[in-house]
């Protein structure tokens, strides 16, 4: 079935992954700006990265029939130096009108520090001023509960419409609050540190299928760019109708992402001619 992976870092994957994803039914991806595994040494490094996200990756994806969109920001891990962060943020408006840019992301917190929070608030303001969607990274492991609360409070304080914000990497202890406060919730199918396909289906069974999606967040670490279709298989294994997978991985992403004028609904593969 056709699906969208709404959070995956294709800059760190080979074209073998694009090929396999296309064979598995992927018709579109959205790629947030993230930490490369090291701290970039200058704002120019981010300018090059933003060019890669807005020029190179869409062309690589198109060779496999996959539409590529991106989000721009300085990620929370590199936000501890406010002066440096502001130099990077100053670059963002010049890229916002590029055809595949959906909004600001993945902004958020990492260790829940004062500087991270200040930079988060400034990036929320960029999104608000330019009327862009927001994609949020919630912290890892023991920092997630506290960080999710701080992030939601910052968004509420800025007066952002929660329906235009996707809070990603939710787990069992954060999903209820995210949905109750009107945000969209993303479950990331990433080994060890985040959800499994089984737990993601458990969460959908308990909390419903509205304003929720799944993604692989495939990156340079141990991760599986096919974890979204694997989760669909888990749904089928339990006897859920095919419509559930379509809702979670096509209808819901289309509804959220369609709020951006830059997003063009992808063309699903049609029936074979013959």
């Amino acid at each position: 079935m056709p699906y969208i992976d709404p959070h995956i870092h294709m800059v760190s994957r080979t074209t073998d992954d694009y090929a396999r994803m296309a064979e598995a039914g992927c018709i579109a991806v959205t790629e947030p700006a993230f930490w490369a595994g090291f701290d970039r040494s200058s704002p120019a490094g981010f300018a090059d990265y933003f060019r890669q996200l807005t020029e190179t990756e869409p062309k690589r994806a198109a060779r496999y029939g996959i539409d590529h969109y991106c989000w721009l920001c300085i990620n929370p891990k590199e936000a501890e130096d406010p002066g440096f962060a502001r130099e990077v943020m100053a670059l963002i408006p010049d890229f916002l009108d590029r055809p595949n840019v959906l909004g600001i992301g993945e902004i958020g917190l990492n260790k829940n520090s004062r500087n991270e929070l200040m930079i988060l608030e400034e990036q929320i303001e960029i999104a608000r001023r330019h009327d862009r969607l927001i994609l949020v990274h919630t912290p890892h492991l023991e920092d997630k509960l506290k960080g999710t609360r701080l992030i939601m409070d910052a968004l509420a304080n800025a007066g952002v419409d929660p329906g235009r914000v996707l809070i990603d990497h939710v787990e069992e202890h954060t999903v209820a609050a995210v949905l109750d406060r009107g945000f969209w919730a993303g479950m990331t199918l990433y080994p060890d540190s985040k959800c499994t396909p089984q737990r993601a289906v458990d969460i959908i069974e308990c909390f419903g299928n509205e304003r929720i999606w799944i993604n692989s967040a495939g990156d340079w670490g141990p991760s599986d760019p096919l974890s979204v279709p694997r989760c669909h298989a888990e749904m089928r294994r339990r006897g859920h109708a095919a419509e559930l997978a379509t809702k979670i991985s096509l209808a819901n992403p289309l509804a959220f992402l369609g709020q951006s004028p830059a997003f063009r609904p992808p063309v699903s593969p049609g029936p074979a001619v013959g």
Binding site: N112, H140, D143, Q198, E205
Partner: protein, 99 residues
């Protein structure tokens, strides 16, 4: 939390998932055995190991929502931003907790 939201019956859940989780239980057991056999210094006092040992009984306390309660148990429950981030990684358990 609603009940009976999984479309499989109880016996079907056991049939489908038992072997995988038997293996995961053995992984935990083998990890603890490995710690016992590890060369000095002793790792068993590490906050993460203490947190793991304290989290295990939550599986059998008769209450539901085990995944949520274990995640909360392993979380930092402070509410104010920290003054500065001196590390980028996370541990998996709250280093400030008295597990």
């Amino acid at each position: 939390m609603p009940t009976s939201t999984c479309p499989l019956t109880g016996p079907e859940v056991v049939e489908s998932y038992f072997m995988e989780h038997r293996a995961k239980l053995l992984d935990i057991a083998a990890f603890l055995d490995r710690l016992d056999r590890a060369a000095p210094p002793d790792g068993r006092g590490d906050v993460r190991v203490r947190a793991l040992r304290r989290a295990i009984p939550l599986l059998l306390d008769g209450e539901g929502d085990r995944a949520r309660r274990i995640l909360e148990f392993l979380s930092d429950h402070s509410t104010q931003p920290i003054p500065a981030a001196h590390t980028q990684g996370a541990l998996g358990a709250d280093p400030g907790a008295d597990y």
